[in-house]
Amino acid sequence: MNISAYHYCFNGIVRREILRFLEQRSRLFSSLIRPLLWLIVFAAGFRSALGVSIMEPYGTYITYQQYITPGLGCMIILFNGMQSSLSMVYDREMGSMKVLLMSPMPRSFLLFSKLVAGAILSTLQVIIFLLITRVVGVDIEFYGYITAIPAIFLVSFFLSALGLMLANLITQLENFAGVMNFVIFPMFFLSSALYPLWKMQEASLWLFWICQYNPFTHCVELLRFALYGQINGSALAVVLGASVVSAVFALSSFKARK
């Protein structure tokens, strides 16, 4: 296979995912409704309870809605990554995964292309979400949307790869409920998505350290800083490293059928 064959293959996989996404408009709606509910209802209710603060990368006092916006963006990616990868469990048995794996291209390349396609879709959804947040008063400079794109893409790739790793361990789609309880919720709540870590440190030191070691915390912080045109070096290093490790593990351990 020559380079152009790889090019057509990669384009084909990405194009298919985008076409499917455009055909399934309810997917966009359902992916946005959850974080918007958190932003509009939850954040409004807790706004006064949690107060406001000055912290990096914010140069001034910010509202709670402003604070949780990056976390909610990452929430979209987290759910997308898990859902799209878990759908591979189903596809592996009876659907399009068979067709994909019948390609003469290396399987690792096919799965990598699928991960990239998933990351592109997640990036689009988060950008749409961030634009909608303007309506409820979340103020992001225009350049913030641009500088956030690479961060969103990297986080999306990492969480898709993590989802693919889980898909390797899960044999039945019904186990998605278990993934919700044991992966998605702990990752989300034990992070800086909803509350700054110094607040967590005041409440419980061991919870603080769990949050510190949770890679999702670093995903949120990477996006938080990127929205203000800044790079959080440690978050970038953790997310990059975690992306490489999960992608290598997921791609090398993927089995067509269990």
């Binding site: 296979m1 293959c9 084909g12 996989i13 194009r15 298919r16 009876m94 067709v99 019948m102 067509a256």
Partner: protein, 242 residues
Amino acid sequence: MNIVIENVSYHYGKKVALDSVSLDLTPGINLMLGPNGAGKSTLFLLLTGLLNAKSGLIKVNDFDYQKNRSSIMADMGVVFQQSTLDLDLSVQQNLLYFAALHGISPANALDNITPMLAQLELADRLKDKVRTLNGGHRRRVEIVRALIHQPKVLLLDEPTVGLDIESRALIIKHVRALGDSLGLCVLWATHLMDEVRERDNLIVINQGKINAQGITSQLCKKYNAPDVYQLYRQLTNNCEVM
């Protein structure tokens, strides 16, 4: 192009699906006849590399799966028992996606697709969503898809099951013509007796074992059976057929 299967076994847990299966498939129609659960689909999954044999050896044109998976897949077209088309996409989008997976550009793929769709009376359905096609039309699209990359081996896992008479007839005629004109090595699994022809290389499989392989007419003579129906019943301990 030939397929050699030597002493291949596969089991799901304790259930044996294939038990030391050996076959030699050559260009033309190789028709695998067996009841449900005989091991046909498992053999297809092994031949497509979606399962790895627990023991034994499979070679396609002297290539083995461990070292030359890419070369084997480049020459193999498959129609699975269950439809694997994307219902939300159009016929064209499905076909171009598959072509892309084989590294074929959209323009080249369309050149290949257009005459095949015309032969299978689907030329006017190119832009239609697969969801709007009936079962017979979907099967025809899957056959076109399996041939886009001009394979030398075509695997058909019960491609006519559940189809109306007209669709069945068209698919049977088309595949037989492909076997004759292109010299494809076609492995066609079925449990429908009327799909067998006298000159086919017939393989009778039951309970994971190959009970007989040879030209249909010669097998009938060898086993002293007046027709394929009786031959099949003899070789499968009176399994009922359709």
